[in-house]
Amino acid sequence: MLNEDLKLKLTGILPLISFEEGGEWLNVIVPSEELKSFVLRLRSGPDLMMDYLFCLTCVDWKTHFTIVYHFSSTRYRHNIVVKAKIDRTNPEIETVSDIWRTAEMLEREVYDLFGVKFLHHPDLRRLIMPDDWEGWPLRKDFEDPVNMIRL
């Protein structure tokens, strides 16, 4: 499906969404409370079949976080990027690990480095950093006086 067709279809599913232009892939901005039902529709609808979550990351904009999901359909070969803005002081978002199992690890990584709480995640622990590590190292305001100099 072409990006223009995807755009029409997605607007039909949830009129609240907005789009970002300019990239190769269609960028969809979804309100974070609508995200779970929206991506469930992407996965289960026979017209979209987004069965592959190939990237899940977080961006720190200093004023807020954006959680970025990259989806692909192995049947139709179309890709979309879903972005959800969340609060930075109390970062919480519903897990998608019950839809895509791979999100279990990806969400643990985001939790490890940004401290985003994924609600109803089965096993939200640190993944890469040591278990006794304190702080969220990829946040823009992270400070480590031993290893880092302030720029």
């Binding site: 992270f142 480590d144 290893n147």
Partner: protein
């Protein structure tokens, strides 16, 4: 019956007295040991990032460090003589590197290959996770700058290490006699 100070082919340390049926070799045992040792250094197959690709290139046909006696790359530190730190050492890797070094049998040598192994790297120095130079973890004999160093630079470092071993001095003796402490 002449005395040849240096053979034309090899840089054998000592004197060779040529006789009709062969020859007599005079040398110090330490020199012979160092000479033999420096021409058969077994590197550990250890690489933590992109410098490792360059190291593999030096090991393979085009640059071929077996010409200098480095061909027997070992996957166990217990059989290796030299560890080439090819890549970034992160805080989680540091204890592993230390253990690898401790498991190597004496005499053992260390080459720090590339900017990451020397100082933490051109990109990764200002992070929570990177060791700012592998010499914080284990002592280093030869440093090669570069990101990554050219294969020729690694060969040069290997030959420099051989020269260091042939000189017969320990790391500490070389440091004491260096130009910094005349």
């Amino acid at each position: 019956m002449g005395v040849i100070e240096k053979m034309d082919k090899a840089d054998f340390p000592g004197k060779i007295h040529e006789t009709a049926g062969g020859g007599i070799v005079l040398s110090k045992l330490d020199d012979v040991i160092n000479w033999a040792r420096s021409n058969s250094l077994w590197p550990l197959t250890f690489a933590t990032s992109c410098c490792g690709i360059e190291m593999m290139s030096v090991a393979s046909a085009k640059y071929d460090f077996s010409r200098f006696g480095f061909e027997v790359a070992r996957a166990t530190p217990r059989q290796a003589d030299v560890i080439i730190i090819a890549g970034t050492i992160v805080n989680k890797m540091a204890p592993v590197l230390r253990r690898l070094y401790d498991q190597m049998a004496d005499p053992k040598y260390v080459i720090a290959m590339g900017a990451c192994a020397i100082s933490g790297g051109p990109f990764f120095y200002n992070t929570y996770s990177v060791v700012k130079g592998a010499d914080h973890v284990i002592p280093v004999d030869v440093y090669i700058p570069g990101c990554p160093p050219r294969p020729e630079a690694l060969l040069h470092a290997l030959i420099t290490l051989q020269g260091k071993i042939k000189a017969g001095l320990t790391r500490e003796q070389i440091k004491e006699s260096s130009y910094l402490n005349p």
